[in-house]
Structure formats: structure tokens, C-alpha cells
């Protein structure tokens, strides 16, 4: 295996609900290689989303280490994390999470507003990203004028527009019909294959998981 892009060591996450401690992740260690398409599977409450959130730098573990490209994201403070997320991770959500008042192109451009790129450079990158997901002709459309599958492809374009090494997806096909789901998964697959992106995807659906290069199952916060 090549040098791992994600190295997780003894990671635990314990939520406090009233007086009860709920263990979401229990002492997990895991390596993810570059250009891997990893799918995280498991029943509801197994901790797969929590793991994804910690790798992506939007949640913090109770203990343990999570190094992404040799940066321990658990040690960054909040503003450092915000910058780190912007530069290193692309997100894809189950509910697309596009900004309704912005056009497809403007949604894709959002992460680039935090960079030093000129307006022209930004527009070029947005055009490239939309082309990659096959939506160049929809760039001026508002999210509500797009189908679910198209919305999710815009979200993928937004995730890859900053050219991050890592793309994380939380149930990206959960709100899509099977045809659109197939399309979206195909795009993710080609991102790994053609652009060498590392993709981590949480899913319930074994058919979706089959698109990945490796599957991991979580059960009650432990790898199984």
C-alpha cells in the first residue's frame, strides 16, 4: 500500500447524553491510502457519520489521533480547521446543501471565495469543475431549476473545485432515484480513477458501496 493519506490511531468519540455516556467510536485505528474509494457501511448509530466528520475536520474526537496528509486535524483550533477544510477537503451531503439563491456556478464558486484566486481564475476553475460533472450548460440555473441528480452533481463540482486531495460524501445517493444515484456514483468513481482523488463515502446501500475500491463496516463504534 502506498503512503496512507489518512492515518487514524486509537480514535474514540463519546457523547454525553444527560448522565449516560454514548460511545460513538471505540478505539478505532485505520489507514486510508491515496486514490482509494473507501465506503463506510453500517447500521444507523454505528458511528460511521461521526468518523467521517472527524476525518473531515468538522467534529472532534474525545481521544486519539487523526492525521490527514500528515496534519493531525484533532490538534487544530477552530479557525485553522476552517482554513484546512477549505483547502484540503471537499464535502458532499445527502441533502445537496446548495444555497438556494445562488446559481449553479455561484454555488460552485463559494469555496474559491476564500482563496486568493482572481475572478478570472475562479471562473475558469468553476467552468472546469462543472464540465467534469457534465453540467456546463446548467451553470446559470438556480438549484430549484435542477433535478436532484443535477443538484448533487453541482455539489460534487463544489467539492472538487478547490482541487482537494480528499473528498468525503455522507450518503450522497440517499435522496436520489436509482438512475441519478448511478450517475453520481459514476462521477465519484471517475474522480478517483482519472484525477486520483481519495474518496470516503458513507452509505447504507450495498449497491452504492460496490462502486468503491474498499468497504469498511462499523458496528457499535467498532470496525468489524
Amino acid at each position: 500500500m502506498a503512503e496512507p493519506i489518512v492515518q487514524i490511531r486509537n480514535l474514540s468519540k463519546i457523547y454525553q447524553q444527560g448522565e449516560i455516556n454514548v460511545t460513538a467510536l471505540d478505539n478505532i485505528s485505520l489507514d486510508i491510502a491515496g486514490a482509494e474509494f473507501l465506503t463506510l457501511m453500517g447500521p444507523s448509530g454505528s458511528g460511521k457519520s461521526t468518523l467521517l466528520h472527524i476525518i473531515a475536520g468538522i467534529d472532534r474526537p474525545t481521544s486519539g489521533e487523526c492525521r490527514v496528509q500528515n496534519v493531525d486535524v484533532t490538534k487544530l483550533n477552530e479557525s485553522q480547521l476552517a482554513d484546512w477544510r477549505n483547502q484540503n477537503v471537499g464535502f458532499i451531503f445527502q441533502t445537496f446543501n446548495l444555497i438556494p439563491v445562488l446559481t449553479a456556478a455561484e454555488n460552485v464558486e463559494l469555496p474559491l471565495l476564500l482563496t486568493q484566486l482572481s475572478k478570472k481564475q475562479r471562473h475558469n476553475q468553476v467552468a472546469t469543475a462543472l464540465e467534469l460533472v457534465g453540467l456546463s450548460d446548467r451553470s446559470k440555473h438556480l438549484p430549484r431549476q435542477l433535478s436532484g441528480g443535477q443538484e448533487q452533481r453541482v455539489a460534487i463540482a463544489r467539492a472538487l473545485v478547490t482541487d482537494p486531495a480528499l473528498i468525503v460524501a455522507d450518503e450522497p445517493t440517499g435522496n436520489l432515484d436509482s438512475h441519478s444515484a448511478h450517475e453520481v456514483l459514476g462521477v465519484l468513481q471517475s474522480l478517483r480513477r482519472d484525477a486520483g482523488k481519495t474518496i470516503i463515502m458513507v452509505t447504507h446501500d450495498p449497491k452504492a458501496a460496490a462502486f468503491g475500491t474498499r468497504q469498511i463496516h462499523l458496528e457499535k463504534g467498532e470496525l468489524s
Binding site: H53, D83, N97, I99, L110, P111, L114
Partner: protein
């Protein structure tokens, strides 16, 4: 880096139904604020247009207005010989004695009567007030019972049209002309011959004397000489200063206006707050998404404050537009300085409109502060899960 303004603008307009009530509320507050201030500005403008910096207004010591002042014929004669007073081409001192009296006249709309200031003055008195010009008819003839009224008063009182006659102090007066006072205090007056007016109202003395000083230094000398001369119970003030003191009438209007605007703006702040809380609530997931993409808390905070300010600014502009048709509208009030009808115009100056919009933006910023803080403090993961 901040979020683009177009984002805020579209968020305001896309939910226009929800924001309309707030925008209209703020517009009403701004309209009231601007109108009340416009009234005060109009009153002050009327006073500031009146004085000539070279003129000295002389009244009896202790009187606050011409109508309550007395200057005897003898005192008037004494003043003629003062060397500090300017002289015209013929060598005559530029001095005018006026008699100001109040007459009661019916309003044109039939809603009762009001006091009107009648100024009796000499030709020299007209020379000292060049801002007053005849716009219709002719000037009064000395020795005849004729009056010239200001155009503004002609619109407000019955029997003030050229050719009209009205009875006062048991005598019939004829209106022979109309004058315009360029928004000065004279727009609230009726003019007639000085001696005729003394005869008509049976007065031994005049109300005031207006003199033109030979130089700014001479003006100071006249004022201090009057002050120190124990034989002359008179007081001099620069004409400009005299009329600006009369502006005290605008003070209660300003105070009332500010009170009204403050009370209404508190309501508007809560309206803006409500709208912005609703906006934050409906966009919780959007906020979570922006945070995940790398936008900082303070960017989110700023964005919502800008949005509130934008919302309010739209209301502010609308409020100014609502108030604008009243610009130049003449109205009158009872002046507590002259105890007579004072007419003036609503004056909405660009500065006043700007103040109105700034006022609106302050309302918007204050109103959106708490919702914006809430938005910026939303926990990311919980925000992402919200529907």
C-alpha cells in the same frame, strides 16, 4: 473574505413576502422621522433667510418679539444721527421704523380665525429687506389704507386676494399686491405704510427700528452703545441673530420628532429582529454548509448584519420616497414668539434624506445583531442536520 453582497441582496428579495412588512414598517418610521425634521428645517430656513448680516434690529430692552416692543418717535429720531449708521446715495441714514401689529383674520378654509402679523414700514424699510419682491399687483401708496400680502398668506386666509377688502380696527383695507419673501419670516406677514398703520391702530410709537451699519465694526459699536446708554431703553441685535432666536419655535417640533422617531424605531428594531431570526432559522443548514466549506464565524455574523442593514436601507429609501411628495408643501403654525400664524415649507434636503437612511441602517444593524450572533454560534453538525 466576506460573502458577496449579491448573496445578501438575493436573500432579502427572495423572501420578499416575509420581509415586506418589516421594510414597510421601517419605511414608515423613516418617513415620520424625515417629515418632522423637514418641518423643523423649514422653520429654521425661514428664520435663516430673513436676516441681513449688515442690519441691526433694535427693540425695547426686555422684549422678545417686535410685537411686544415699543420704540418712541423721539428715540427713533435720536438714532438718525448716529455716525455708525450707513447712509444712502443722498446722504440719508439707512434707518427704518416698523410697527408690527396683530390682526385676526378668517382662514380661507373657513376653519376659524388666526392672528396675522401686519408690518407697517417706510420705503427705507423695504430697501433694507431686498429679499422681499413684488410678484403681483403694486406696492401700497403711503397715506392710503392699502396692504400688500405675502403670496403664502394669500393662499391661507380669506380676503387676501388682490382687490379684496377686509375690515380691521373699524376701517376697510384694500389688498393691492402680493409679495414673495423667499422663504423668509416675511412670508408670514402683511405689509402696509408705517404712518398709516400708526394712525389706523392709534399707536404713539413704533415696534422696532432696523438700521444698516456702516461696517461690521460699526455694527458692534451700535450694539454696545445701545447696551450702555441708560437713556435709551433699547437693545440691538444683528438681524440674523434676532431671527435665529425666533427659531426656538422649531425646538419643540424637533424634540417631539425625535421622541416619536425613537419610540417608533424601537418597534422597528424588534420587527427587523423578528425577520432576521426567521431568516437565520430557515437557513440553519445553509449556515452549517458555509461553515463546512471554510467560512469563519465572523463572516457569517457580518453577512447577517449586512443583510439586516440592507433590508433596513431599502425601507429607508422607501421612507424618503414616501416623504418626498411633501417637499415644498407650505403649512403654518402658531409661533409662540410672535403669537401669529407662521408659514413655512417642508424642506427635505439631501442631507436630511441621508440622515433618514442612516437612521434606517442603524435600526437594521441593531435589529439583526442578536440573530446574527445566534447564526454565527450555531454548532456545525447540528446545523447540517436541521431541515
Amino acid at each position: 473574505m466576506a460573502l458577496p453582497l449579491s448573496h445578501n441582496f438575493r436573500n432579502v428579495t427572495v423572501r420578499w413576502r416575509a420581509t415586506l412588512a418589516t421594510v414597510l414598517g421601517i419605511a414608515m418610521v423613516v418617513a415620520v422621522f424625515v417629515l418632522v425634521q423637514a418641518l423643523a428645517v423649514g422653520l429654521e430656513k425661514s428664520a435663516s433667510n430673513t436676516g441681513d448680516p449688515r442690519n441691526i434690529m433694535i427693540v425695547r430692552k426686555g422684549s422678545t418679539a417686535e410685537s411686544s416692543s415699543q420704540v418712541s418717535l423721539q428715540q427713533f429720531q435720536t438714532l438718525h444721527y448716529w455716525s455708525q449708521i450707513a447712509r444712502d446715495k443722498k446722504g440719508n441714514p439707512i434707518v427704518s421704523a416698523d410697527l408690527v401689529t396683530l390682526i385676526s383674520q378668517p382662514r380661507i378654509d373657513g376653519k376659524g380665525e388666526a392672528n396675522v402679523s401686519v408690518r407697517g414700514l417706510t420705503p427705507m424699510g423695504r430697501f433694507l429687506r431686498p429679499q422681499v419682491t413684488l410678484v403681483a399687483g403694486r406696492w401700497f401708496t403711503p397715506g392710503k389704507r392699502e396692504v400688500v400680502v405675502s403670496s403664502r398668506m394669500a393662499k391661507r386666509f380669506a380676503h387676501f386676494k388682490i382687490g379684496d377688502r377686509f375690515k380691521t380696527a373699524g376701517n376697510w383695507m384694500t389688498v393691492v399686491g402680493e409679495f414673495a419673501g423667499q422663504n423668509s419670516a416675511f412670508d408670514s406677514e402683511v405689509w402696509m405704510d408705517a404712518d398709516e398703520s400708526r394712525a389706523l391702530f392709534d399707536r404713539e410709537s413704533y415696534s422696532s427700528v432696523l438700521v444698516r451699519a456702516a461696517s461690521p465694526q460699526a455694527a458692534q459699536e451700535i450694539i454696545s452703545r445701545l447696551d450702555s446708554d441708560k437713556r435709551l431703553p433699547l437693545r440691538g441685535d444683528s438681524e440674523v441673530e434676532y431671527y435665529s432666536k425666533q427659531t426656538a419655535t422649531a425646538m419643540p417640533i424637533r424634540i417631539l420628532g425625535n421622541f416619536l422617531a425613537t419610540a417608533m424605531s424601537i418597534g422597528a428594531i424588534f420587527a427587523a429582529m423578528n425577520t432576521m431570526y426567521a431568516s437565520v432559522g430557515s437557513r440553519t443548514r445553509e449556515i452549517g454548509t458555509l461553515r463546512v466549506l471554510g467560512f469563519r464565524r465572523r463572516t457569517i455574523l457580518l453577512s447577517f448584519i449586512i443583510e439586516g442593514a440592507l433590508l433596513a436601507a431599502i425601507g429607508g429609501v422607501l421612507g424618503c420616497l414616501l416623504a418626498l411628495p411633501l417637499h415644498g408643501y407650505s403649512t403654518g403654525t402658531m409661533s409662540f414668539n410672535t403669537f401669529s400664524e407662521t408659514v413655512f415649507q417642508f424642506r427635505i434636503t439631501p442631507w436630511l434624506a441621508t440622515k433618514g437612511i442612516i437612521f434606517a441602517v442603524v435600526v437594521g444593524v441593531v435589529g439583526s445583531l442578536l440573530p446574527a450572533i445566534r447564526a454565527s454560534r450555531l454548532p456545525v453538525i447540528a446545523a447540517l442536520k436541521s431541515v
